[in-house]
Symmetry: C2
Subunit: 222 residues, 2 copies
């Protein structure tokens, strides 16, 4: 990417939240061997309008050519670059015996080749063990470890009561971003980015789908 022209990224908050979706669909297209795609075809796949696709992709510099469509791999790499995936951030996980969140986070993150440096077990129960090749360390080592290894991201896989103690640790490091699985917002300086994971939301939407599908059925029968 180094030899390409630098462009100004001017992305609204709304367009930003759609980037991971573009990234996923383009990744699928690459796997399927698709080289080029028109905005109409991409719109059909993603269930949005072609004009939204064109508008969104224009924000990133507009890589499409009239009549030729988009070069799938170029667009994929460009979006990866905009998302910062070319930066290879270093990650640690703080876990409070909630093996589930950790394992999931680990497995998912590792699929993308992210660099998970350690898992900090707040309960102390698994210290000295390792998980998928990632060492499990005590929380007492957190600050020194993160500063020494120049860790960028902390994943908070702790319940509500563990959020403030975890934030207290993060505040003593140079960590630049936090991925928070809890429903409590961690108290961190403005220069630390926070993204929240709401695992419950898709289930709530599914309940909505089911309820309203059966209401529609009921209405049809009347």
């Amino acid at each position: 990417m180094q030899n390409e022209e630098k462009f100004t990224v001017n992305v609204s908050q709304t367009v930003k939240t759609r980037l991971p979706r573009y990234y996923r669909y383009l990744g699928k297209l690459i796997k399927e061997g698709t080289l080029r795609i028109s905005s109409n075809e991409l719109a059909g796949l993603m269930h949005v309008t072609a004009s939204q696709i064109r508008q969104d992709l224009n924000c990133f510099g507009g890589f499409g050519h009239q009549g030729y469509g988009y070069n799938v791999r170029f667009l994929y790499n460009k979006i990866a670059e905009i998302l910062g995936l070319d930066e290879h951030y270093k990650i640690v996980i703080i876990d409070e015996g909630n093996l589930g969140s950790s394992l999931t986070a680990l497995a998912r993150l590792r699929n993308r080749g992210d660099d998970i440096k350690a898992l900090f077990d707040v309960t102390g129960a698994r210290i000295g063990q390792s998980l998928v090749g990632v060492p499990i360390l005590p929380k007492e080592n957190f600050v020194e470890f993160c500063n020494r290894e120049k860790i960028d991201i902390a994943v908070l896989a702790v319940p509500e009561t563990g959020v403030e103690p975890a934030a207290e640790l993060v505040r003593q490091t140079g960590i630049r971003g936090v991925l928070n699985f809890s429903s409590i917002h961690p108290d961190l300086p403005d220069n630390v980015a926070i993204e929240e994971v709401h695992l419950d939301d898709p289930l709530l939407l599914l309940c909505y789908d089911i309820k309203h599908a059966s209401q529609d059925e009921g209405n049809k029968k009347q």
Copy 2:
């Protein structure tokens, strides 16, 4: 809720996806003992405009009173009802040795008091055991169990290769909704609702935040 006036729910796809967010914020307000809230205050909390709040809540029948704001618990219950959370759907999980997804799903779902009836372990390794009180059963029992227990929802916590075999099982039951943790779309009849969980997306957005925060820093220093 039975004695309340029935109203037509006329919710766009966009407003629908915002419902879990309202539900979460209102739940927090209830925990904090807040009885009433104005659209301006709610907008401040949720980082959206007051006019969007008023517009969204109007779709559900408009429960606000000029000058009084919204009754938090009433609105919370109403959104729960619209989301179908008053229906107590019965849930099973299909798992392929991916303990992580299962445990997470289990823990999160149980927090909301959902009714998880069984975990089906496709690998067979944990059959006969139980997890947080949920029995672990062999996949051979899936169809008979789901039909007998009138299961509504299946959670697919399987890797890509496990999606089609799991969908094959689901097609033989009366299951009405599927929560899919894989990146492969399961092939199911139109009357089965599907919601996808994209665990990676928040991490991608966090990478974006960090990259562009440091770019802004860089620009300031120049």
